[in-house]
């Protein structure tokens, strides 16, 4: 059974069609990259998968692990193992990072029938994961993303993914705004989570990230549809030729 199967997905935002029949199938263990020009609907796809409000699904379906994903609320999807690494992680003043991580982890653990971790075990668990992402205690004790640089925010997203251990991770423009050092740290974090049971969907405009996190399949999203699919070589080709051949209609 596929981990994720998107069939003929049509989505409108404020009555404007954005996705016009997307088909995509991800098997467990696979990393797929979705590339495409700005405005092609990449972020819409990530938000629809995670359940954000404001998107009208006019046709099609999304089957995740055998269940109808569109029937679930965002928090239910998260507890079922769907994770979105945000392009622009939200700053939440007043909520301490560690407390947030613990609340999130325990919500998922309870759902999986596991015990809640106590404060000590949790701290040990987080520190281990945080270390390889170069996140120190001081950063964990700050309010969620408040005053973080772009790179710090993205590392924190990957830390959350490492802690929550999702089955399907959607990484929305995780490479944007990163310098080369940060890109390497983040890529290492993503590669560490490659697993035979986990699927990943990398959404990116540039090929850069794919030098570090090598995808099994690459798709081009243009005008709300998958216009072409291929392997790594397709990403390379796009890097050289750009998106011109995909004949983007800009309204």
């Amino acid at each position: 059974m596929a981990l994720l199967e998107i069939r003929n997905l049509h989505v409108k935002v404020e009555n404007k069609p954005i996705l016009n029949g997307v088909n995509l199938k991800i098997e467990p263990g696979e990393i797929h990259a979705i590339m495409g020009p700005n405005g092609s609907g990449k972020s819409t796809l990530s938000y629809v998968l995670s359940g954000r409000d404001g998107y009208q699904i006019t046709d099609g379906e999304i089957i995740y692990n055998g269940i109808d994903l569109l029937e679930l609320e965002p928090d239910q999807r998260a507890r079922e193992g769907v994770f979105l690494a945000f392009q622009y992680p939200v700053e939440i003043p007043g909520v301490v990072g560690l407390t947030f991580l613990k609340t999130a982890l325990n919500a998922t653990r309870i759902h999986r029938g596991q015990n809640e971790l106590d404060a000590m075990d949790f701290l040990k668990f987080v520190r281990e994961k945080a270390q390889s992402l170069e996140i120190d205690d001081e950063m964990l004790k700050r309010f969620v993303n408040e005053g973080f640089s772009g790179g710090e925010k993205k590392r924190m997203e990957i830390l959350q993914m490492a802690i929550l251990q999702p089955k399907l991770a959607i990484l929305d423009e995780t490479d944007s705004g990163l310098d080369i050092d940060a890109l390497q740290v983040v890529s290492k974090g993503i590669n560490a989570l490659r697993d035979a049971n986990r699927g990943m969907l990398l959404i990116t405009h540039y090929q850069r990230l794919l030098n570090y996190v090598r995808p099994d399949k690459v798709h081009v999203l243009a005008n709300g549809r998958i216009a072409r699919s291929g392997d790594e070589a397709l990403a390379q080709e796009l890097e050289e030729k750009g998106y011109a051949e995909f004949n983007v209609f800009v309204e």
């Binding site: 928090d75 998260a78 919500a107």
Partner: protein
């Protein structure tokens, strides 16, 4: 049903009856003070829509229900008391039940030298001259009708005196409990707190009533902080669900003195906490902070006024409100800078979160500045929880209710951070969490 004027008359009738019982024993000055309160209240009556600072807070319950002074001394056990006290706090405790001091429930123990914590009547027989000099001298009865009403009844209360240079080693806990009677109960307690030069104290004042039966608690406090002295004052208003709680506090700050006030208001059908400070000596520092939590049909009013008279004083106010159901919040904050009060530093912030479509907030910040070398600012906002933050938390597996509670608590943290005493911080935080668990649980209710 009597109208407002009719009810004002029955209040005064009761005051007169109570007064007749005392006639023999009370000194002339006290009699005059009470009469001045009665005559002001008679003239003004209960506050109504035409009173500028009462426009949003109508006291219909006081017209509809006939509240009576409590004559009984109901049973209250130590167990009941321990439910309302702050956990793990060692304090000098004085307890009032239905507005009357109860020595049997109080535990004042061995007070340090130079500290007096006692009931009004004991102090009347001990130090009448000092009471004569202070009582009623710090409060502007003409502009405070409810304080005038309290003054007409003046008979019960708590007096706290701290002498020069004394630091009170433990917090003073003032607990007022209301236990319902056959008839709707009314209490009119009076507090006077006078801190001598360079003294220090912490006061925790709680008003509790674990009942759905209506009652009326009309509290007046006068607080004088001597030169170089400091008072931290925590006030917890958690009256019964049908109660009317009105409290009026008048503060006088002398040179280089400090007052840190924090108000947590969540009880009563109508709750109004009014505090006004006069910064009389230079370099004094006055803070009013607080949190109010409204649900159902509650009306919670916070009204403050800070008058900068002397130079180089600081005032700071941070209030955060959370309103659910059909509740209505009122925040009226005034900062007045007199002509000679140069180098004043005044800051005021009021923020309200409206958790339901039917909740409402009325905010009235006022700056009145007559000096030219001052730094004053105020800000007021109201709104719903941030949708992006809610989605972010939900996308990490937090249910909508948990996400909302996390965000509301985060919103309140800025005000709670002003609490210095750890036991109070923990106690207030756990009260707030309990409130959030009870009031933000739509998923369960659906």
């Amino acid at each position: 049903m009597p109208d407002g004027a009719g009810r004002s008359f029955t209040f005064l009738e009761q005051a007169a009856i109570a007064d007749q019982i005392d006639t023999g024993s009370q000194p002339h000055w006290l009699r005059e003070l009470k009469e001045s309160g009665a005559s002001i209240f008679k003239k003004r009556g209960l506050p109504n829509r035409s009173d500028e600072y009462w426009r949003h807070t109508l006291l219909n319950q006081l017209v509809e229900i006939e509240f009576q002074l409590s004559n009984e001394s109901p049973r209250v056990g130590q167990k009941q008391l321990s439910q309302v006290a702050l956990a793990g706090l060692s304090s000098y405790r004085i307890v009032l039940v239905n507005g009357c001091v109860r020595k049997d429930l109080s535990s004042i123990g061995d007070l340090p030298k130079g500290v007096l914590i006692a009931g009004f009547n004991d102090v009347m027989s001990l130090l009448p001259n000092r009471l004569e000099k202070q009582l009623g001298h710090y409060i502007d009865l003409k502009n405070m009708p409810m304080a005038a009403l309290n003054t007409a009844f003046l008979k019960e209360g708590v007096i706290i005196f701290v002498d020069k240079d004394i630091t009170v080693d433990k917090p003073i806990e003032l607990i007022s409990i209301t236990v319902p009677n056959k008839n709707p109960t009314m209490s009119q307690p009076r507090f006077l707190i006078d801190l001598g030069e360079n003294s220090r104290a912490t006061l925790i004042e709680s008003h509790i009533g674990n009942t759905e039966i209506p009652y009326f608690n009309n509290v007046v406090s006068e607080i004088i902080i001597g030169e170089g002295a400091g008072l931290d004052h925590y006030k917890f208003q958690d009256e019964g669900t049908a109660a009317v709680h009105i409290s009026t506090t008048a503060l006088r700050l002398h040179k280089q003195s400090l007052y840190g006030g924090f108000i947590l208001q969540s009880g009563g059908l109508i709750g109004r906490v009014e505090a006004s400070a006069v910064l009389d000596g230079s370099d004094s520092d006055c803070r009013f902070d607080g949190v109010y939590l409204g649900r159902d049909n509650q009306l919670l009013d916070t009204t403050t006024s800070i008058k900068h008279v002397a130079t180089s004083c600081k005032s700071r106010q941070v209030f955060k409100g959370v309103l659910n159901g059909n509740s209505h919040g009122v925040f009226q904050g005034k900062t007045h800078v007199s002509i000679g009060a140069q180098k004043t530093d005044g800051y005021q912030l009021s923020r309200a979160l409206l958790l339901s479509r039917d909740a409402e907030i009325s905010t009235k910040p006022e700056l009145e500045i007559y000096a030219d070398d001052v730094k004053c600012s105020h800000g007021a906002t109201s709104g719903d929880l941030d949708a992006d933050s809610l989605f972010y938390l939900q996308s990490r597996g937090l249910s909508p209710d948990v996400a909302r509670r996390v965000l509301v608590e985060a919103f309140l943290n800025e005000a709670l951070a002003e609490i210095k005493l750890n036991e109070v911080y923990e106690g207030f935080r756990s009260h707030i969490r309990g409130w959030l668990n009870k009031n933000i649980n739509q998923t369960v209710a659906e």
